[in-house]
Amino acid sequence: MNAIVTVVGQDRVGIIAAVCNRLAGHNVNILDISQTILQGAFTMVMAVDVSASAASFGELGQSLNELGAEMGLSIRIQREEIFDAMHHI
């Protein structure tokens, strides 16, 4: 199952490393990463495959939330279908 991870917040050293590490820890495979600075805010969107992860979707979300809280970032994971539904016919 594919999902989208979005990370938004103040830029600092090691954000990508920390998020990738956390995802690797849950056996989540990263398919695509795009990262930019939007209006001064660090903004990263990742497409990931969670099918090999032992953690449930809720646990993954919780784990990323905790990482976000530690680093002062907003990190969320959502199933890809919601974006498809809203933007593509």
Binding site: T6, L38, V45, F57, I77, I82, F83, M86, H87
Partner: protein
Amino acid sequence: MLNQKEILSTVEMIDQQHLDIRTITMGISLLSCCDPDPGRACEKVYEKICRCAEKLVKTGQDIEDEFGIPIVNKRISVTPMAMVAGASETEDYVPFALALDRAARSCGVNFIGGYSALVQKGMTKADERLIRSIPEALARTELVCSSVNVGSTRAGINMDAVALMGRVIKETAAATADRDGLGCAKLVVFCNAVEDNPFMAGAFHGAGEAEKVINVGVSGPGVVYHALKSVRGQPLDVAAETIKKTAFRVTRMGQLVAQEASRRLDTPFGIVDLSLAPTPAIGDSVARILEELGLEVCGTHGTTAALAMLNDAVKKGGVMASSSVGGLSGAFIPVSEDEGMIAAARRGTLCLDKLEAMTCVCSVGLDMIAVPGDTPAETISAIIADEAAIGMVNNKTTAVRILPTPGKTVGDTIEMGGLLGSAPVMPVHPESSAGFISRGGRIPAPLHSLRN
């Protein structure tokens, strides 16, 4: 392939513009629970609701977690209780309300709707018993919502029922006086009630519906407001087009969630309700959308026209995004639940008469309006009659949810908290309508041709 801009726009809608699914409502038929023994019937009601809706809240939470979209309410609607209780040999229907309340608690939902009667043409004994039991039922339960349909375009308006409902609303306020008359916030009087409405307090599961069904109500005033900011000052057709596009996106999300819930709960998908449902939160207001269109304060001249455009554009955008649209589907204007409406009412710009005009062009009616506690029952009945007449003649659903709060008068504010918000007490006309209401009888159904 998704691009970053699309993804971030969705995240922003959820994070900053209050985009959410307002409710997943499971409709459950209770017709199979009829029993001559009232105790047995209540047991069957409790057991069936718990069996059908056991996983509703958990499933809603799972979908929330996975899709990252808040689902604010999980609710249940049931067959109008007068139809079920009418089979039992009893005159006391309050135990049925208590059974609904218990079942709602066991399932973990935040409201259960369907303590209802449909009396647009006439009242059965069961209908009358149920209606007369509403004040006690709402005082002794917390999660039960009640509705009564008093008119329709086909049947006209049952003015005996309208007169009775004025008294029932007053009694309900009195019975819940210790909670600022909160019972009235859970009681709706309809004309042309719909059978698949997922929104409270007027939800019930119509007799023409399946055994059980999943209906979803979307929301999104904040998203529409933000989209309109980007076309500020441009012609109204550009604004309408912007609203349509936004409503389309919001509804697609609602459709996805509805299908997912339906699949996981093994329950047929019913409808998506395209309503713009405000909350008291800043930035989630229908009134502020109207003001963004160029009105200084909601309620001033031009408000009805702006609302008509908004309501129509939401439907046009939403209807293409869902395989099945139903429910109330329109912009809601509940005064106490909309931060901008509260402000406009406090200022005195938004008055009862203007709200009545606004209900001619939008869903649903005079909703969550606080009036002085000493408002006569006949005046409340007359307000209901006016609103029902608008629905009857215009072939649309209208409703009245009015709060004659004991001990409160114009200038006071009642606080209900949560999604119900707070309402400034609005003045009503002091001149009497008692002579009109005491006539009773029926207002015949209107002509369906020569429509001007």
